[in-house]
């Protein structure tokens, strides 16, 4: 078994216009940079994206937005993307904002064969409007449905040709859960290792979830917010 393909372009070549695509990452941390670049190169249109954020102007999913590839988006926070804000205010893009934990759990449910679940999150807010609620014990909960996608694009640190993946620090975020919830999961890794090199006890995404893999190159990994120690001291912090 060998799930590794030669390039990011090859990995995404069968994705169709109008597909629903999950993209891992939190802000610009742990995003599939190479797969995003390959999608932009292909010039796909009418995509429905599911991702916690939407990159920034000029990087990550911001590139897909600028190329006019995205018809609708589901996420929890898009505060760093001015272009998106303008598009939404003008009605050029259908944006659905949902609570981050509800987003994660809807994806988890999608991957785990659970069609819907009750959550306390969002009760009494616009998030709960039009949704079934139910009293269980002494609290009222909102019914949320599972999310699945045609394709999930995820980024891992190391992986083997069987698709087993491990992640690095907070670059894990939405990647493992999205890997479970798509018909086709494509993983890009920084380093390809031989089967057996990853400690089986430490594997986060078992290979069964991964359909295709590619080794990423030339990672930029920009840091979105440079709030470093000196700056914190200036702001009055003891640090």
């Amino acid at each position: 078994m060998n799930k590794v393909v030669a390039s990011a372009e090859e990995a995404v070549q069968d994705i169709a216009n109008g597909s629903t695509i999950m993209l891992g990452g939190f802000g610009l941390c742990g995003i599939p940079e190479n797969l995003i670049a390959a999608l932009v190169k292909r010039g796909l249109m009418g995509l429905h994206t599911i991702s916690n954020n939407m990159g920034v102007d000029g990087f990550g999913m911001g590139l897909m937005l600028e190329a006019g590839m995205i018809a609708s988006h589901i996420g929890s926070y898009v505060g760093e993307n001015r272009r998106l804000e303008q598009m939404v205010l003008k009605g050029e893009l259908a944006l659905t904002l949902i609570p981050q934990g509800t987003l994660a759990e809807r994806i988890r449910a999608g991957g785990a064969g659970i069609p819907a679940f009750y959550t306390p999150t969002g009760l009494g807010t616009v998030v709960a409007e039009g949704k079934e609620t139910r009293e269980i014990g002494d609290r009222t909960y909102v019914l949320e449905t599972a999310l699945r996608a045609d394709v999930a694009l995820v980024k891992a640190w190391k992986g083997d040709r069987l698709g087993n993946l491990v992640y690095r620090k907070t670059a894990r975020n939405f990647n493992p859960v999205m890997a479970t919830a798509a018909r086709v999961t494509i993983a890009e890794v920084e380093e390809l290792v031989e089967p057996g090199e990853l400690d089986p006890d430490h594997i986060v995404t078992p290979g069964i979830y991964v359909k295709r893999m590619v080794v990423g190159r030339e990672y930029k990994k920009p840091i979105e917010s440079r709030f470093i120690r000196e700056k914190m001291a200036q702001a009055g912090g003891a640090a």
Binding site: G27, C29, S76, V78, E85, P99, T121, V126, Y167, R226
Partner: protein
């Protein structure tokens, strides 16, 4: 000491040994810098980390290691990493002792609005709705009024809500306000200001605690 620092320093005194705490983006993040010495507190970041350490020096900032504000952080000995679904399982599941969040508006019922201004600002709720639904204690940290001098503590929030009946305490540079079943109660007050002035700068009705004390900031 400016108002924000005053707020962060006061809330830091409320954090107890053994607590697991989630700090929101911006002002709440500053709380970590003023913790009392000699207590063990574990900070959670909802992007998937327990044991958030101090910010790194610039030349060692690791792009794979950020907090929920997308700022580089460090790990403490004993940190752990996990995916977003597990991160919110621990938040929603009632495992966080305290959540400190910023706000645009809070009202007499403990309702909170902090994620959108219809027609003007598109940002999103991020993890705030889950945090207020799941944390054992929710403290709002914010400046008492807007830059235009309008009250942020209202009879009823006018912006779309983040949660209903979720706020336990409101801390501003003017004092500590507790949300009670009967409304808001001023329990601590900043130096050099009287209860009447705090009320004058607050739209909501404030009861004054019979045990009103000075807000001690160290």
């Amino acid at each position: 000491m400016n108002g924000k620092e005053r707020i962060a320093r006061r809330i830091a005194r409320e954090v107890k040994d053994g607590y697991y705490v989630n700090l929101g983006i911006g002002l709440p993040t500053m709380v970590a810098a003023y913790l009392p010495l000699g207590i063990d507190v574990i900070f959670q970041s909802e992007n998937g980390m327990l044991g958030v350490g101090i910010p790194p020096l610039e030349d060692v900032a690791d792009p794979d290691l950020i907090n929920a504000g997308k700022q580089p952080v460090t790990e403490i000995a004993g940190s752990s990493y996990f995916a977003s679904d597990e991160s919110f399982a621990m938040i929603r599941g009632g495992h966080m002792d305290m959540s400190v969040l910023g706000a645009m508006q809070v009202d007499e019922q403990g309702n909170l609005a902090n994620w959108t201004i219809p027609g003007k600002m598109v940002k999103g709720m991020g993890g705030a709705m889950d945090l207020v639904a799941g944390a054992r204690r929710v403290i709002v940290a914010m400046e008492h009024q807007t830059k235009e001098g309008e009250s942020r503590i209202l009879r009823q929030c006018t912006l779309p809500l983040t949660g209903t009946h979720v706020v336990h305490d409101i801390v501003t540079e003017l004092g500590w306000i507790r949300v009670t079943p009967d409304g808001l109660m001023l329990t601590e007050i900043a130096e050099g200001i009287g209860p009447a002035e705090v009320q004058a700068r607050t739209e909501a009705k404030l009861a004054i605690s019979p045990d009103l004390t000075a807000m001690v900031v160290v």
